[in-house]
Symmetry: C2
Subunit: 354 residues, 2 copies
């Protein structure tokens, strides 16, 4: 039998559909959302109003949430105005980290993640969160100073989630120490970066429950996709290798994992979901691949709504269909089937020292 504490169990059940597959939407973007709105409104980033970000998030949440098993939003722009738009049977994830990263005082191009100030996991729970999401930038070859900071940050969140008995969903995002992530050179490094990061954070000391991962290769640089709209014109590997990489990731992950979209176009994302699910992923947590093209219509909320109700809804349904092949979380080898999942410390007196 595989024991799991009751709060985490209920939370994970709510995040997934009844079959145990995660079909989750992210609308917790802050920096990238403000930038996209700045572009749409032909403004500087600093001139984008809070109310516009909140209103756009509310609209996206209202139209698309019913397709999701869970919605991830942020406490700043998202939660106060759009929580009423999330249906009763769609779970709520709240973000813990400050948007973006800090690079001061560490090695060149290195990234430090930080919490939103005056926000906490206990507050998130009270405000209705069924689970906590933390995004940590990670490059396993960064300086030990940076590695220690990121590891301590993740460990802190793991400890706090354990204290509140809330599921901890850790999102790992790699980056380039040199050059850009949009290159064949980085595409070649990516499998190693993603898999080594998974190896690090599946250590039980981090107390992570679910990993939210980048696709561990880049299909823009995969030879077999040379006819696809997203192909970048240069190849790092072939499809057979990509499948092996996904398998290796799955072997490394001792935890259920889901795929993030990192803003790729929907065609590429559907391929990512298909390949990840084929290798053992339990679903996705996807934002921009589904709804990003809605932003350009703002402030014409009629046009935004029309896009969300049509193209974006179709995108979501296609992603959900791809996720039907995902591995239910309770079938992951960590659990070994629904029949083997049971609440930890079952007894007549568990609540006395819970």
């Amino acid at each position: 039998m595989n024991d799991i504490s009751s709060g985490k169990l209920r939370g994970i059940m709510k995040l997934a559909d009844a079959s145990g597959r995660f079909k989750m939407m992210a609308i917790d973007q802050r920096g990238s959302m403000v930038q996209a709105l700045a572009d749409a409104l032909d403004k500087e980033k600093d001139d984008v109003h809070y109310d516009d970000v909140a209103a756009l998030k509310t609209l996206i949440t209202r139209v698309l949430s019913p397709n999701a098993t869970a919605v991830l939003t942020d406490p700043i722009y998202g939660h106060p105005y759009s929580i009423t738009e999330i249906p009763r049977d769609v779970a709520l994830l709240l973000a813990y980290e400050e948007s973006g990263y800090v690079s001061e005082g560490v090695g060149e191009n290195e990234r430090l993640s930080n919490p939103i100030s005056n926000w906490s996991i206990a507050k998130a729970q009270r405000a209705g969160a069924d689970a906590i999401k933390l995004l940590a930038y990670y490059h396993p070859d960064a300086s030990s100073e940076t590695l220690k900071h990121q590891q301590a940050f993740v460990r802190h969140v793991g400890d706090e989630c354990e204290k509140q008995d809330l599921p901890f969903l850790l999102e790992l995002v790699s980056y380039a120490l040199e050059g850009t992530t949009k290159s064949v050179a980085f595409a070649k490094q990516k499998p190693d970066l993603v898999i080594r990061s998974v190896a690090e954070f599946t250590d039980p000391s981090y107390k992570v429950d679910i990993l939210k991962l980048e696709f561990p290769a880049d299909l823009k640089y995969t030879a077999d996709y040379q006819d696809a709209s997203f192909y970048a014109g240069d190849s790092a590997y072939g499809l057979a290798e990509v499948k092996e990489i996904c398998q290796k990731l799955d072997e490394t992950s001792t935890l259920p994992w889901v795929i993030l979209s990192a803003g790729v176009d929907i065609e590429e994302f559907i391929e990512n979901v298909n390949l990840a699910a084929g290798a053992g992923a339990s679903g996705f947590l996807c934002g921009r691949a589904i709804w990003k093209d809605a932003v350009q219509y703002y402030p014409d909320t009629g046009a935004v709504t029309q896009f969300l109700e049509n193209e974006a809804t179709t995108n979501f349904k296609n992603a959900n269909a791809a996720a039907e092949n995902a591995l239910p979380w309770f079938e992951h080898r960590q659990f070994g089937g629904a029949a083997n999942v049971q609440v930890s410390k079952q007894s007549a007196t568990w609540y006395q020292d819970y």
Copy 2:
């Protein structure tokens, strides 16, 4: 606009169906469940095993939960073994009070409610509760000592629920200071007892969110039901008066309210739901009227299951159908419609001092 804190709002949304109607099942019985099992097993109450109570609760929860919008269970026998049986889209209510009551040191027949020791509302939240239920016995003409104790107990739970931002569902159960509740004399007193209790605990200082109430009259003693199987052979009032009593209760309740079943037979309970919904109740929280006849078959779990899958499921569906006429919680005059419900303290910085 009618403001509500975000945790309470999410919790209340989860307890009700998407239309705002509560169709909730209670399986938190302890004393009465142990007694029913003792009868079924032809044992003394003290000889009933914990494991049998837990197993029966698990079975009832497994078969019937999918019909409910929320399930109320207890932390002792119910939670550790049956939480895995509650579907992801069925909310979880946990009981706070110790089963039964204490009568020592107070006036004759008076009842004091008490907490389960070493249990707390913060623990319930961590363990996955979407809301807290407290049963308080109440007789408005009890001694001031008893009244003060009960009022302080309710106020304590109201304060703790506010602290955790969890919905507080208060169940009020009246009793006879003299004689028995199964009498035409008590039936005549009941409307006054229920309505005066509602007047007391809707005071904002108690911080109650939803009231779980007895039907404010007794149809066993209602002349118009003289041909019904449950009629007791003597009348306290007619149906027109009962409808007026329900209206008066609704006028007194400044909070959404639901009806409890107190173990009456299903025919009578359906009438209770019809009449209460007609007067403005928002649904029900019902246990024994739906499943009580299953207990007699224990330990023949096959027979228990068969009863639950057939008669009890039919009972549940009939109760749900009756609740379709209930008033959605957000249509209660406290809220005034879904469009008027908004999260309190909405701002860009709400989370900083939340």
